[in-house]
């Protein structure tokens, strides 16, 4: 049977506010346990929440970035459940009246096709703390530093029909929230994580199949793998005559499998009700427009500009604009080197390749945009060849320094002196009479042999264009 996959994502985005959503504690990552938890975060008797306006503004900013409806009146609700890292015994979130209503984003697929994915809603809520089971024998530690960190939960429509679409959507949301500065996008620290609702149905069927919710996936690669193994699991069940049960499943990246956490029957009754400690949030059209006016150029617009202004291919423009840092890097290199194709090629193949290999982010690239631009300028003006350029790049990557000083100190400057090159050409012709004869007899492939000999002799420093010209001239004499 042919199966169609249906995927919806719930993405949790940690907002980049300095302080928590309902208290003045810092949100900085990595502090000693419980040093960033005040009376409010601890849920002491008598404390009350006060909303951080900055978190609200960031949520609205996200809403305007995806052209969503903004809730003119939104309400905080309590989601009641007991867990040691949930100090109040309830999470403050938004249920019926979220701050961001329906909107959409466009994704682009490998074959160049585009697709619109609906965003149902995005609501403000507080994060819980962390339970630490590893470091304590026979007991559990609770770290409340993260408790009260502002989040928006972005809920998509079940619009995705493949893992590729799900990953493309997740990447798109990631680039939007980082472009507009509401999230640092750091997935290792949990600033951006998602739950995936996955179901399958026979191709052509209208009703959705029963879904499983995969919890807390914190990388693009894991989303891809988790959804894929879940799809396989569901197909196996249905094709062997079983039924998929509605449940929450956990993806284990070590074993590359999903396993059941709790079934629908065990689902808790969260007893939602409006939080009486917080007033409804009223937002005016002017507030929304003032925030909309602060939106920077968004990924789609930037990509279009890269294509039209820099004559880049859609694919290259897509890669370069996927993250704001990479796009900014490109623009710096391009404006200093003055060659968009050269800049794009070097960034996409050399730089990104190297970053990926060493598992680094563009922000921690050892080679700055200015350094790379200096290198490309020297390739353009023929001081060095592209091949030598890669050696210079290597030195930059490992030891730092600018292109000119590396070229100087390593003596990599290209030989462009016509007299010197002519002498070399003459020597090669004189040293290889057999090959000259064959060449003249029509074996033109041997041109490469002559060039190679000269490159070998000069350790690659001879200007290949000039040598070609000289060889052609001399050999036809």
């Amino acid at each position: 049977m042919q199966w169609e996959v249906v995927i919806g994502l719930e993405i949790h985005v940690q907002l980049a506010t300095k302080s928590k959503i309902f208290s003045g504690s810092s949100t900085a990552f990595g502090a000693e346990p419980n040093t960033q938890a005040n009376a409010v975060d601890l849920g002491l008797p008598g404390v009350l929440p006060v909303m951080n306006k900055e978190a609200l503004n960031m949520a609205i900013k996200f809403g305007t970035a995806i052209d969503a409806e903004i809730g003119k009146r939104s309400v905080f609700d309590r989601k009641n459940y007991f867990y040691p890292d949930l100090p109040k015994g309830y999470q403050i979130t938004q249920l019926a009246l979220p701050i961001v209503g329906s909107g959409s984003v466009e994704i682009e697929l490998a074959d160049g096709a585009t697709k619109t994915i609906g965003v149902t809603r995005a609501h403000l809520e507080e994060d819980a703390g962390k339970s630490l089971h590893e470091d304590f024998q026979g007991s559990t530690g609770v770290d409340l530093n993260r408790a009260g960190t502002p989040l928006i939960e972005i809920v998509s429509e079940p619009d995705m029909r493949s893992t590729e679409e799900a990953v493309a959507y997740m990447r798109k949301i990631h680039s939007i929230v980082t472009y507009i500065g509401v999230c640092d996008g750091n997935m290792q620290e949990g600033s951006f994580r998602c739950d995936a609702n996955v179901s399958i149905r026979p191709t052509g069927q209208d009703e959705f199949g029963t879904r499983a919710e995969l919890k807390n996936i914190n990388s693009f690669r894991f989303v891809e793998r988790a959804i894929n193994v879940e799809i396989e699991r569901q197909i196996d069940i249905l094709e062997s005559g079983g039924t998929v049960v509605q449940e929450t499943r956990l993806y284990d990246s070590n074993k590359n499998e999903t396993r059941s956490m709790r079934s629908k029957e065990d689902a808790m009754d969260y007893r939602y009700f409006p939080d009486p400690d917080l007033l409804p949030i009223e937002v005016t059209e002017q507030d929304i427009e003032a925030i909309r006016a602060t939106l920077p150029e968004l990924p789609d617009a930037k990509k279009a500009r890269f294509i039209s202004d820099f004559k880049l291919s859609a694919e290259d423009a897509g890669i370069l604009t996927a993250s704001l840092e990479l796009a900014n890097y490109f623009e710096t290199v391009n404006s200093e080197a003055g060659d968009s194709k050269l800049a794009s090629n070097w960034i996409i193949s050399e730089l990104t390749g190297r970053l990926n290999k060493e598992n680094l982010d563009i922000r921690s690239s050892p080679v700055s945009a200015e350094q790379l631009a200096g290198l490309l300028v020297r390739i353009k003006d023929n001081t060095i060849s592209g091949k030598i350029g890669k050696d210079v790049f290597d030195v930059m990557w490992n030891d730092g320094g600018n292109a000119d000083s590396i070229i100087d100190s390593k003596g990599l400057k290209q030989i462009t002196d016509t007299g010197a090159l002519e002498a070399m050409v003459d020597k090669v012709i004189a040293d290889n009479p057999n090959q000259v004869e064959q060449f003249k007899a029509g074996k033109e492939k041997l041109m490469g042999f002559f060039v190679g000999q000269i490159m070998k002799a000069t350790q690659g420093k001879a200007n290949p264009g000039q040598i070609n010209q000289l060889l052609k001239k001399k050999l036809s004499e």
Binding site: A39, L44, P45, G46, L48, G89, Y90, V142, R271, D277
Partner: protein, 484 residues
């Protein structure tokens, strides 16, 4: 010293007739001698109080005194007080030393006043008789076989027995006005949002409001002057100018339009209580007030709506008492579930558990619309009843309670009957209005209270109307014979 009002004590302190340390010591002596029969205090903060009094005396000597400087107060044990046990009347918090001061406490501290101690109360403010406290029942100083009312029963009994010049309380459904009525005090519940809830341990967040127990309306004005005002740490605190509540006390009330809601004088009202209220109405007529009958047609829905909203909110507010971070934790928990179940099962008393269960039920999936949402709609109707009424009258008067104090133990087996003892006070909380109860007579040597209700943020009017009555009557000056 203990017969004097705050206003009189303040004058004496300024004139140097006695010091705050002497005054404080006098009250501590009285508490030591007399409170064992009443059980009105959970904690007496003797050393702390005397240190505060010494500081106050310095302020007074330096000419920096304000009307509350050096005055000792009893604080309901629901307000967090830094470094002092804050139990909320519960075993759950018997070991809880608050690490911070509530907004109300900060304001009393800033005024240079003295805290004698923390008063007994129904557990987590849930009760109308002060019988649900982990620290035992509080007795009514007028007759120790009777309850003082609740939940602020300790605060009421302490002032009635002159074991404090005045005290604070909180009022969620009548918890200030009802004990004030039962103990012959002036009990003021301000408008919702007038006094900060920060640091006041929450029972039902949308109803809770801090207020005062005093000998008269003049003292209530002095306390409200200090307590009222915006606190940015409480999102429901309201940014409204705070008038000087003492200024209008002496204003003539000739022509005052008073509404008498017929639903508050109907079946269930004790005929002797009704007589005392009638006498008060006649007194007011002599002062020039004009009375009209009004209707608050949704009154009969107020108790049922309240007993959905308040338990629902409490079921969530009390979730933080889980044995994990503070408060009571059971011995040797086997696992997390056991820790939760036994810590809460052993730490909470019966009435608290009853309300958590009712509240959790009312909020549960499938019942939310029928209970909680419906109750919130009723709340709107009740608020509208009052708004309509206030188009035609300046204030509303009624009995505070349907009967005088009942006997200790009398209603223990009948929670519903207990709930109905707040029938005249609850609607005021549901609407968020200010209300005051003032002494207006006795039935069988037990006090009777008259409730006055005004529009939002019109506490000045409320206190003016109460004060005028207290200029021509002496009910509020009656003191139980053992505590004169």
């Amino acid at each position: 010293m203990h017969t004097k009002t705050i206003a009189q004590l303040s004058a004496c302190l300024k004139a140097g007739e006695f010091s705050s340390v002497e005054l404080t010591q006098h009250y501590i002596n009285r508490i030591t001698a007399l409170d064992s029969a009443l059980n009105s205090y959970i904690t007496v903060a003797q050393e702390r109080a005397l240190a505060q009094a010494a500081l106050a005396d310095k302020m007074i000597a330096a000419g920096e005194a304000n009307p509350l400087t050096g005055i000792p107060f009893a604080q309901k044990d629901i307000f967090c007080t830094k470094g002092v046990k804050t139990s909320c009347g519960s075993k759950m918090l018997d070991n809880f030393i608050a690490p911070y001061d509530a907004g109300v406490i900060e304001r009393f501290n800033a005024a240079g006043s003295v805290m004698l101690g923390k008063t007994n109360m129904d557990e987590f403010a849930m009760g109308s008789s002060n019988e649900t406290s982990f620290y035992g029942t509080v007795k009514n100083p007028w007759n120790t076989e009777y309850v003082p009312g609740g939940s602020s029963g300790g605060s009421a009994a302490a002032v009635a027995a002159r074991l404090a010049p005045a005290s604070t309380g909180t009022d969620t459904g009548g918890s200030i006005r009802q004990p004030a009525a039962l103990c012959n005090l002036t009990g003021l519940k301000p408008s919702y949002g007038r006094v900060s809830r920060y640091g006041m341990i929450a029972f039902a967040s949308s109803l809770d409001q801090a207020g005062t127990f005093t000998k008269n309306a003049e003292d209530a004005a002095l306390m409200l002057n200090v307590m009222a005002g915006l606190d940015k740490r409480d999102s429901t605190s309201i940014d409204q100018p705070v008038p000087d509540y003492s200024v209008n006390l002496n204003q003539n009330i000739k022509g005052l339009k008073v509404g008498l809601p017929k639903e508050y004088f109907a079946e269930g009202l004790d005929s002797e209580v009704a007589k005392q209220v009638d006498n008060a109405i006649n007194e007011y007529k002599k002062l020039g007030a004009e009375f009209v009958e009004i209707s608050l047609p949704n009154t009969h829905l107020s108790v049922p709506a309240y007993y959905i909203v308040a338990p629902a909110e409490c079921s969530s507010n009390l979730s933080r008492f889980d044995g994990v971070r503070f408060g009571y934790r059971c011995e040797d928990p086997k696992d997390l579930e056991d820790l939760y179940k036994r810590s809460r099962g052993e730490g909470f008393g019966e009435e608290v558990k009853r309300r958590i269960l009712v509240g959790a039920y009312a909020l549960s999936s499938g019942y939310y619309d029928a209970y909680y949402l419906k109750a919130q709609k009723i709340r709107r109707l009740i608020a509208n009843d009052f708004s309509e009424a206030f188009k035609n009258v300046d204030v509303i008067m009624s009995p505070t309670t349907p009967t005088p104090a009942f006997k200790v133990g009398e209603k223990n087996d009948d929670p519903i009957s207990m709930y109905y003892s707040d029938i005249y006070t609850i609607a005021v909380n549901l609407a968020g209005l200010p209300g005051v109860s003032i002494p207006c007579g006795f039935v069988n040597n037990l006090p009777v209270g008259l409730q006055i209700i005004s529009p939002y943020f019109d506490e000045s009017r409320l206190l003016n109307v109460a004060h005028q009555y207290q200029q021509v009557t002496d009910w509020h000056q009656q003191v139980p014979s053992s505590y004169k």
